[in-house]
C-alpha cells in the first residue's frame, strides 16, 4: 500500500512539475499561447482541461486494456485514442449545452479547443506505453492537467504584467511570450532529478 502510494505520488509530481508538458516537453503550445492573455480565461481553461484530461485518460485506458489488447489492435492506438477523445469532448459539449447552459457559456469555448490538443492525446499514449494500471493512469491525467493549469496561470499573470511593459516593437505579443516560456523552462530545470525512475 505504502509503496503503491509512493508510486502514485511520484507519477503525480513528475507529470506536474518535473516533466511539465509545457516547460519540458513543449506540448500543447497552441492552447498555451491562445488562452493566456488573461488570468480569468486561463483559470477557465485549466478547470475544463484537467477534468477532460482525467476522464479521457480513464476512457482510453478502459478501451485500450479491455478492447484493443485482447483484439491485438494496439498498433491502431493513435487513431483510436483520437476518436475516443474527440467523440467524448463532442458529447460533453452537447450534453453540457442541454443540461447546464450557464456552465456551457463559461467553459464551452474551451472544449472545442481541447478536442485536438496534443497533451490530451499524449497522456493516453504514455499510459499505454508505460503499462500503467487504472489508478496510475488517472493520476497521470490529474498530474498533467494540474501541471498544465499551473503553466497557464503563471503565464497569464506574467503576460498581463507584460501588457504594461515597454517591449521593443518586433517582440510585442507572441514573440515575447515565447521568450518568456523559454526562460520559465530554464527556471523549471531546477526541479530535474527530484524523482529518479
Amino acid at each position: 500500500m505504502d509503496k503503491e502510494f509512493m508510486k502514485l505520488f511520484e507519477i503525480f509530481i513528475a507529470s506536474a512539475l518535473i516533466n511539465n508538458f509545457v516547460f519540458t516537453r513543449f506540448l500543447g503550445l497552441c492552447i498555451f499561447f491562445g488562452v493566456t492573455k488573461k488570468v480569468e480565461t486561463a483559470v477557465g481553461m485549466s478547470i475544463t482541461f484537467t477534468s477532460v484530461m482525467m476522464v479521457s485518460a480513464a476512457l482510453s485506458w478502459l478501451v485500450f486494456n479491455y478492447i484493443m489488447v485482447p483484439l491485438d489492435l494496439t498498433f491502431l492506438k493513435i487513431v483510436i485514442f483520437i476518436g475516443i477523445i474527440a467523440s467524448f469532448v463532442q458529447a460533453s459539449d452537447t450534453i453540457m449545452r442541454k443540461i447546464s447552459p450557464g456552465l456551457y457559456y463559461k467553459l464551452g469555448v474551451y472544449l472545442a479547443l481541447i478536442s485536438t490538443n496534443c497533451i490530451i492525446l499524449a497522456v493516453p499514449l504514455i499510459n499505454a506505453g508505460d503499462k500503467y494500471n487504472f489508478i496510475e493512469a488517472i493520476t497521470l491525467g490529474l498530474g498533467s492537467g494540474l501541471g498544465f493549469a499551473l503553466a497557464l496561470i503563471i503565464m497569464a499573470s506574467i503576460r498581463e504584467k507584460l501588457e504594461l511593459a515597454n517591449v521593443p516593437r518586433p517582440f510585442q505579443g507572441l514573440p515575447i511570450a515565447f521568450v518568456t516560456t523559454g526562460l520559465i523552462a530554464l527556471a523549471f530545470l531546477g526541479f530535474s532529478g527530484i524523482i529518479t525512475q
Binding site: 499573470s157 521593443p168 518568456t180 530554464l186 527556471a187 527530484i194
Partner: protein, 350 residues
C-alpha cells in the same frame, strides 16, 4: 455664460501651469509622488559599492582570475546594454549603474576558472534577453544575473561546476580543483564534510570567513552581511524577504536534512553554505522581480527557502538558491495579484 467663465478660468490655470513649468516648479509624473533625494542611479551604485567587501574576499581567495571573470561580466553587460538600446533606438542608460550591478552580481555567481566566452555570453543573456527584451530596467520578469547564470550552468555544466581551491595566492597559477561544501554534502554526506573540515566549529568558522570552494561571491558570509547591513540601515532593502528565506531554509534543513529521521538536520550548515546569503540579500530582494506587498514578500521569501531546501536535498543539483529564486520570480505577478491592495475608498465587491 457659465461656459464662457469656465473657459476664462481654464485659460488662466493653463497659463499658470505653463509659467510654473518654465521655472521647473511643476513636475508632471505618475504616482507615487514621493519627494526624496533617492534615485535609481544612486541606489544601483550604492548596492554595487556594498558588494565590494564580497568582491575583495573573492579576489583574496581566488586571485587575479576572479578579477578577470568579474570584469568580463561587467564589460559584457555594458556592451549588451549599449547595443540593444542602440538597436531599439532608446536612450543609452549605461550611467544608471544597473548594467554594472547585473554584471558584478553575475560575476559573483561564477567560478574563477572559466574560459573568457562564458562570462561574455552569459551577460548577454542576462542583460539583452532577460532585461532589455522585456523593456529594460523595471520591466524584467526574472532576475537578470541569475538567468545569465542559469543559462551558463545548463549550457556548460562542467565548466560552471569546476571550483578552484581557495588558497589566497596572487601568483595566478592554476589552483587545484575541489568540490564545494554543498557538493560534498550532496555526494558523500555530512560525515565526509566534517572529515574535510576537521570539527563542526571549524566548518562554521571557515564558512563564515569564506575559506571554501565556490562561486566568487559565495565565499565569505561575513563580507556579504557587512554589505547587506549597510543596505538594511539605509532602508534600500527590508528584512522581510531575506528573513523569510533564511528561516525557511533553516527550518527545512532542520526537519528534513538529517539522516536519522526528521528533526535531526543541521540548519547552520545549510544556512551558511552555498550562495544562500548572496541570494537572500542581493538577488531575492531585487525590486523589480519580487512582489510589492509585505505579505507577498514574506510568501515569496518562504517559497524561495522551501524550494531551495527541496532542490538541495532531493533534486539533481547540489545548490538550489538560483533555481528557487527564478521559479519564485515566475510566481511574482500571481502573488501580486493575490495580495492586491484595496483601492482607498473603493466599494467592495459583493
Amino acid at each position: 455664460m457659465l461656459r464662457h467663465r469656465l473657459n476664462l478660468k481654464d485659460g488662466k490655470i493653463i497659463r499658470k501651469i505653463m509659467e510654473a513649468g518654465k521655472e521647473n516648479k511643476l513636475i508632471v509624473s505618475v504616482s507615487p509622488h514621493i519627494k526624496s533625494s533617492e534615485s535609481v542611479d544612486k541606489i544601483m551604485w550604492t548596492v554595487t559599492a556594498t558588494l565590494l567587501p564580497t568582491f575583495v574576499m573573492g579576489v583574496y581567495y581566488f586571485g587575479p582570475k576572479a578579477v578577470i571573470v568579474t570584469l568580463l561580466c561587467i564589460i559584457g553587460s555594458l556592451l549588451s546594454e549599449y547595443f540593444v538600446q542602440k538597436l531599439a533606438g532608446k536612450d543609452i542608460s549605461l550611467k544608471d549603474g544597473s548594467a554594472v550591478l547585473t554584471g558584478l552580481l553575475l560575476g559573483m555567481n561564477m567560478p574563477s576558472t572559466l574560459p573568457f566566452y562564458i562570462p561574455l555570453l552569459s551577460s548577454f543573456v542576462a542583460v539583452a534577453i532577460t532585461k532589455q527584451l522585456f523593456g529594460g530596467l523595471g520591466y524584467n520578469i526574472f532576475n537578470p544575473a541569475l538567468m545569465g547564470r542559469a543559462f551558463a550552468l545548463i549550457t556548460w555544466p562542467r565548466a560552471m561546476t569546476t571550483w578552484a581551491e581557495p588558497i589566497a595566492n596572487f601568483t595566478g597559477m592554476d589552483a587545484k580543483t575541489t568540490a564545494t561544501p554543498l557538493g560534498i554534502l550532496k555526494e558523500q554526506g555530512l560525515d565526509k564534510l566534517l572529515e574535510v573540515f576537521g570539527s563542526k566549529m571549524h566548518l562554521y568558522s571557515e564558512l563564515l570567513l569564506g575559506h571554501r570552494a565556490g562561486s566568487l561571491g559565495e565565499t565569505s558570509v561575513i563580507a556579504i552581511l557587512i554589505g547587506a547591513a549597510f543596505l538594511l540601515l539605509r532602508g534600500y532593502i527590508t528584512l522581510r524577504i531575506p528573513a523569510a528565506f533564511l528561516a525557511a531554509v533553516a527550518a527545512g534543513a532542520w526537519v528534513f536534512g538529517g539522516k536519522q529521521g526528521i528533526f535531526t538536520g543541521d540548519p547552520l550548515v545549510h544556512v551558511l553554505s552555498g550562495g544562500l546569503m548572496l541570494g537572500a540579500f542581493y538577488m531575492a530582494t531585487d525590486y523589480v522581480t519580487c512582489p510589492t506587498t509585505k505579505k507577498g514578500q514574506m510568501l515569496f521569501g518562504a517559497g524561495c527557502g522551501l524550494l531551495t531546501i527541496l532542490i538541495r536535498l532531493k533534486a539533481g543539483y547540489p545548490e538550489g538558491v538560483m533555481f528557487s529564486i527564478l521559479i519564485m520570480n515566475c510566481f511574482t505577478p500571481l502573488i501580486d495579484r493575490g495580495f492586491r491592495t484595496e483601492v482607498f475608498g473603493a466599494k467592495k465587491k459583493a
